[in-house]
């Protein structure tokens, strides 16, 4: 028996993104693009401010999926579209709010549709995951 039900809304989790966490992710991932750390550079290429790595946002959503699945090792499929940049001004803790709905269940897997928002604006589109039960 699955612990999930089709149509079930899974509890939301909030993740904090700030300038320090962007540096930590840059070092862990190897993606040192200055648009994710250097405000002067980000503005010089037409951005409003420093923006989070799309893969950082997706990685935090991956943590949400892992936690709902019960383990990282249960995540089988994970996809997302980067629709809106997550802008990270200096000295601000930006809240990324993640939730999901169970849209399909089989004997083996659950399919989730995920919502990720910052300041009530969706930052990922078509975010989906398949997790092992």
């Amino acid at each position: 028996m699955s612990i999930f039900k089709v149509g079930e809304f899974l509890p939301s989790k909030t993740y904090i993104i700030n300038r320090a966490s962007l540096v930590t992710y840059a070092n862990a991932s190897g993606d040192q693009n200055p648009i994710h750390q250097d405000e002067t550079f980000a503005k010089s290429v037409g951005l409003e401010n420093v923006i989070a790595h799309g893969m950082y946002t997706m990685g935090l959503v991956g943590q949400y999926v892992s936690s709902m699945a019960g383990s990282t090792s249960k995540v089988r499929e994970f996809s997302a579209r980067f629709t809106k940049p997550v802008v990270v001004p200096a000295g601000v803790n930006v809240e990324l709010v993640v939730s999901a709905t169970v849209v399909e269940l089989t004997d083996e897997v659950a399919r989730l549709e995920i919502t990720a928002t910052c300041n009530e604006v969706k930052v990922l589109g078509m975010a989906k995951a398949v997790i092992l039960l």
């Binding site: 862990a28 950082y56 990685g59 943590q63 990282t72 089988r76 980067f82 995951a129």
Partner: protein, 127 residues
């Protein structure tokens, strides 16, 4: 512009990468994961994106114009420390929209002859 003849071509990774416990732990901690001995679902990007970058830059594209459009992972086998990974990248599609070049690259992370993770990155090269 990408040479259309390259669509469908696979570029085998020149070297293999050994996944270290430190690299998994640092990545997992950066994302707030508690299982710091297991590669998080998006960990494959640390291997696949570099390979995609070298393939596309060698093919004449300007990496400074790139924006990540979308990303998908299929995980067949959990990545853990000690695995030796060869990464092969295939340019699956290329199209032009409003002057922007949109390229999808599939990267297969291969361990002992079997694909452990496939990663599809759609990259937008801004006009």
């Amino acid at each position: 512009m990408l040479n259309p003849d390259l669509v469908g071509r696979t570029f085998a990774g020149a070297t293999s990468t050994t996944i270290t416990a430190e690299s998994i732990a640092a990545f997992a901690l950066a994302l707030g994961e508690t299982e710091t001995h297991l590669a998080p679902p998006t960990f494959a990007i640390t291997i696949s994106l570099e390979q995609s970058q070298s393939v596309l830059v060698e093919s004449g594209l300007d990496w400074s114009r790139v924006v990540h459009g979308d990303q998908r992972f299929s995980i067949y086998k959990q990545l853990v420390a000690g695995m030796q990974i060869q990464c092969d990248s295939t340019i699956e599609s290329a199209r032009v929209m409003a002057g922007n070049e949109i390229i999808t690259v599939r990267s297969d992370l291969i361990e002992s002859g079997e694909t452990a993770v496939s990663s599809w990155s759609t990259l937008v090269f801004r006009a």
